[in-house]
């Protein structure tokens, strides 16, 4: 896509330069030369160069487009520029590996990233699978590894909402996957800028972990424990809710648990399990997820997910010493072996899908 076409399609022409995007951009608060508004302006002035390093600052949180009064689709605009950059020989890896070197410590696995240890685990706590995330947070809080945790809980039914909490009860209540993006990183920005909190644990999706690491680079004094969640794709709640009602005849807002397993989307509600094909809810998939290539949260201290473990267990990938320290606190842990091939299969599929979409988006770029 030519830049002009990209500008048209993503409605950059609508920009009134109000700055609401940049004021809300978590990364802009720390990387002072990165600003969605400024990039839009540059593009409109015909000065944008896709090889510019700044386009890799975006973490695809979509807060900018969500709050833009002019309906500019910045995330897609940035993905479009990235697609073009990739064509001109720039490698996405460059930006990830720089952060890996800074924050992680382990052996490099071609597919899974930096790994110190990989295992399947289960605690006595009830969670999405093995209750690992909840247990890591409560254990860390008890041992004062961190003062507060940034987690995603359910509000107004099953809508994901990011909160900062020092309360173990709130952490336990936040258990379970939401399959939605919630701007956890916004809470982190507040925690850093509003001061006080210097030791924080944060549970986030792979895309957010990328942004969190970029911010952390600018603020090394903040001691962070990052727990990444495996993520193939997420959904817009506003789109998903009516879709679920249409397909399954249930109110997603009343669900006890939702799950994506082996190509099925499962909603547990009122003691019953309703199932549909994941393909059927495609149109609720978050736009940025289409282009993402990171399944296992490659930059987290610990990544957790269900793929690769037997039922009731969670796969745990420890990627740093910090991750190891935190994992070491778990009590009553039961472990078993991981099916690495199953993880690799999904890592590769996610990567291929993302690259294919990017290629599609970049298709027809004139060199």
């Amino acid at each position: 896509m030519e830049i002009e076409e990209l500008i048209r399609e993503t409605r950059v022409y609508n920009c009134v330069e109000c700055g609401e995007c940049t004021a809300n951009c978590p990364v802009s608060w720390f990387e002072t030369d990165y600003s969605p508004r400024a990039i839009a302006k540059k593009a409109l002035e015909g000065l944008i160069d896709a090889r510019e390093e700044k386009i890799w600052s975006c973490m695809s949180c979509e807060i900018c487009s969500d709050r833009c009064p002019s309906e500019v689709d910045y995330p897609k605009f940035i993905w479009g520029l990235r697609a073009e950059a990739l064509k001109s020989g720039i490698r996405e890896e460059t930006y990830v590996s720089e952060l890996e070197q800074l924050f992680l410590d382990g052996e490099r696995d071609e597919d899974i990233g930096i790994v110190r240890e990989i295992t399947a685990g289960k605690t006595t706590v009830e969670g999405q699978d093995g209750g690992i995330v909840t247990s890591l947070l409560t254990a860390g809080m008890e041992k004062w590894l961190f003062e507060s945790s940034i987690v995603v809980h359910k509000a107004d039914g099953f809508k994901a909402k990011a909160i900062t909490t020092e309360d173990v009860e709130a952490i336990i209540k936040a258990k379970g996957s939401k399959y939605q993006f919630a701007p956890t990183v916004e809470r982190m920005v507040e925690a850093i800028l509003e001061g006080g909190k210097k030791k924080i644990a944060i549970v986030a999706l792979p895309c957010s972990i990328y942004g969190i690491r970029r911010i952390q680079k600018a603020h090394p004094e903040v001691e962070l424990y990052t727990i990444g969640l495996f993520c193939f794709e997420n959904f817009y709640y506003e789109v998903l809710k009516p879709l679920v009602r249409e397909l399954m005849g249930v109110d997603l807002g009343l669900a006890d648990k939702i799950d994506v397993k082996k190509g099925k989307f499962v909603v547990d509600v009122g003691g019953e399990s309703k199932v549909c094909e994941v393909g059927e809810i495609d149109k609720a998939v978050r736009a940025s997820c289409l282009f993402c290539t990171d399944f296992t949260a490659r930059l987290a201290d610990i990544s957790v997910g269900s793929v690769g473990s037997p039922d009731g267990f969670s796969t745990v990938i420890i990627r740093s010493k910090k991750g190891e320290e935190l994992f070491g606190l778990l009590k009553g842990l039961e472990t078993t072996s991981v099916d690495r091939d199953e993880i690799v299969k999904l890592v590769r599929l996610k990567k291929k899908k993302g690259m294919d979409e990017l290629e599609k988006l970049g298709g027809g770029v004139k060199k």
Partner: protein, 440 residues
Amino acid sequence: MTGNKSVVVIGGGVAGIQAALDLAEQDFKVYLVEKNSSIGGRMAQLDKTFPTNDCSICILAPKMLECFGHENITVLSYSEVGEVSGEKGDFTVKVCKKPRYVDEEKCTGCSACEDACLLKDRFPNEFDMGLGKRGAAYLPFAQAVPRVAVIDEENCLFITKGKCGKAPACKEACERDAIDFDQKEEEVELHVGAIIIATGLDAYEPYEIEEYGYGQIENVITGLQYERMINAGGPTGGHLVRLSDGKPAKRLAFILCVGSRDLKKFPYCSSVCCMYATKSGMLAREHEEDMESFVFYTDMRAFGRGFHEYIERGMEEYGINFVRAKPGKITENDDKSPVIWYEDTLTGELKRMEADLVILATALMPSKGVEELATTLEVELDEYGFLKVKDSLYSPVDTTREGVFVCGFAQSPKDITDSVAQASGAAGRAGEVISFVSAK
């Protein structure tokens, strides 16, 4: 053409009042229908008017009284239009007069009932945009016209529970025996030759814009709430205070375009906020020398005569700080001061600023109930819910139905000056229609 040489004006704000007076002065009979218990509309709530900083109610009150006392005008307050039939020159309009449970003829507006009401100061006062409190029996505001009390039937103990003390307290207190719990809804049938719609505006309440914290952060208020707060007759006696602790508010932040110029909400410009925010900053400084004001704007839209100069005066004489930014969000400090997160788009710097009060200049929209009214009148609305006109250039006050005209904010966002001018235009067009009618 046979029909009626009279006009019904729907809406008793400044536009409706102006249209009614213009027609009445030409010796036409006018019925002014107002859904609230007093005429005056939004202008009655404002403290001062721009760009002259004149006292709003001081200009409006004489007009309200003139209207009410005019031999050719019948004011039907606390009334709504129910049914409309007929055609240009010969309409039948049914008006439903809601019971106010107070005899309009007997009540002198002494407020004895208000003081006696057992539920005094229990409910948010609509006129003060919820900042002040009222009872179940109350006077809408000091300069209300008609100056007649009203009893809120949803809350009154006697009406809802059948019991209020030994005898209804208001009834006991009233020396004129004006309280009348037997009042029923009344239907009035009017025969008129033309209809003017002047239903005005409502302000958007920005609860759904979560990042600005309205309804969550106590010191975040709306533009109309500010008008009531800075008004000497308002709930704080004209003192600007932090709602969290009642301490003086010294640092004010006005945020423009909240919900307006937003393609997902109200895509149009409300047209008055740049000016009223500037006015508000000036007035704050007139109240207290050490008051600081910040106006966060996207573009300054000061298009009227003298408007640009007004903003320059605001900057130079009153020290108002204009910041080119649409803030991203507002958070709250430990002492409950709101903190504004923004990008100064002139420098590209990201900043946070603490304030005592944040005032959201929210989108102004067609008043609630206009859709229903449009259905009743069989007139069309535009995409935003404003009354559609036949041709915005050549017939800017003619609705899509013959004999039905529109003026003021109901037609499109505009300030008082333009509303009044358009009201005179609508009165002229309505007069034209009824001039050629020979009475039945």
